[in-house]
Symmetry: C2
Subunit: 193 residues, 2 copies
């Protein structure tokens, strides 16, 4: 998605440790007109698929998922990150390793909002090591719902996540795939799509 790649080049910054900072428009300050173009593109890529729910994860996935949902005319459910042990039996849970913060956290979705008959599109802002998407895919599987595919705004193509998700047989649509980036020069190279 050229508009997005141009925006990443213009407003993104590359930091040491393979960090791509896009908080000017994606995950701290959010450019809603860009989100509308992102939503439109997800709809274009998943046109013809039957989807009745979008699942995302707090916090930075929520805004993108909500604006995208306007093009799909479906509700959004967001998985909550929980540091407390879940005691109730009324939620699906998965463990997720964090690339950004280290450690492991638990994600939960109420059983009321995911189940048999649901045809689910996953939406998230970033795909790096893929652990969050894998956790969301597990929640969907446990619930008996069907995973239609995953839409990601930025994939770090040089980390394992994209390949891992595709190998699981999940249809993955990443709107921009960073092939490589250089924190010295700030150069970002995208994978041609």
């Amino acid at each position: 998605m050229k508009l997005l790649e141009d925006r990443i080049r213009r407003d993104g910054t590359v930091r040491e440790g393979n960090v791509l900072k896009v908080d000017r428009f994606l995950n701290h300050q959010m450019d809603i007109e860009l989100f509308q173009e992102i939503g439109r593109e997800f709809k274009r890529r998943f046109a013809g698929e039957e989807i009745n729910k979008i699942l995302t994860i707090e916090a930075s996935g929520i805004g993108i998922a909500c604006v995208a949902a306007e093009f799909f005319h479906v509700p959004v459910v967001f998985a909550k990150k929980s540091k407390t042990k879940n005691i109730a039996g009324d939620v699906y849970t998965a463990q997720v390793e964090s690339f950004t913060h280290g450690g492991v956290y638990e994600i939960i979705v109420s059983k009321e909002f995911l189940g048999e008959g649901d045809k689910v599109l996953l939406i998230d802002d970033f795909l790096a090591n893929g652990k969050a998407l894998e956790g969301l895919a597990k929640l969907i599987k446990d619930s008996g719902a069907e995973l239609v595919g995953a839409g990601v705004v930025i994939e770090k193509g040089f980390q394992r996540g994209g390949e891992a998700i595709r190998r699981m047989g999940i249809r993955l649509e990443s709107l921009a795939i960073v092939e490589s980036m250089d924190c010295g020069t700030g150069e970002i190279i995208f994978r041609p799509q």
Copy 2:
């Protein structure tokens, strides 16, 4: 807002300890068409005000703020909840007491995204004791930005928050104000507006 009050009566549940659960449509599963009506109503109530930014707080404020922002044609910034001590000097911070979870957490916004010249509308899903809104108002004050007003989806009118915010001279627009609720009968009474 009658549509919202009807929805709260239909899909909300009253629990012990003054808990109003609205996770079927507002803060776990999110009804995006309802969010559009909410956004339209915020725009109607703040029509004529100059607003160039919406500020909200993770996680459940983000979806509402993003859909509302489409009516205002402005970007959204969300304050992050941080449990780690902030060490960098490039963020505004405030302490917030939590009603839901107990304890105190810190909220932060990067200085890059809030400052002099900004005319800010606060958006959040719930107003109970008002501590989150007070924290957001402090961030705005510290940044030199102007607080135009606050838009809240559900105010618990029997808790202190609404009065506290209005006493601070902040223009507060709550789309539904719960005057009282009964966890025995499930009855919810709204303040006439």
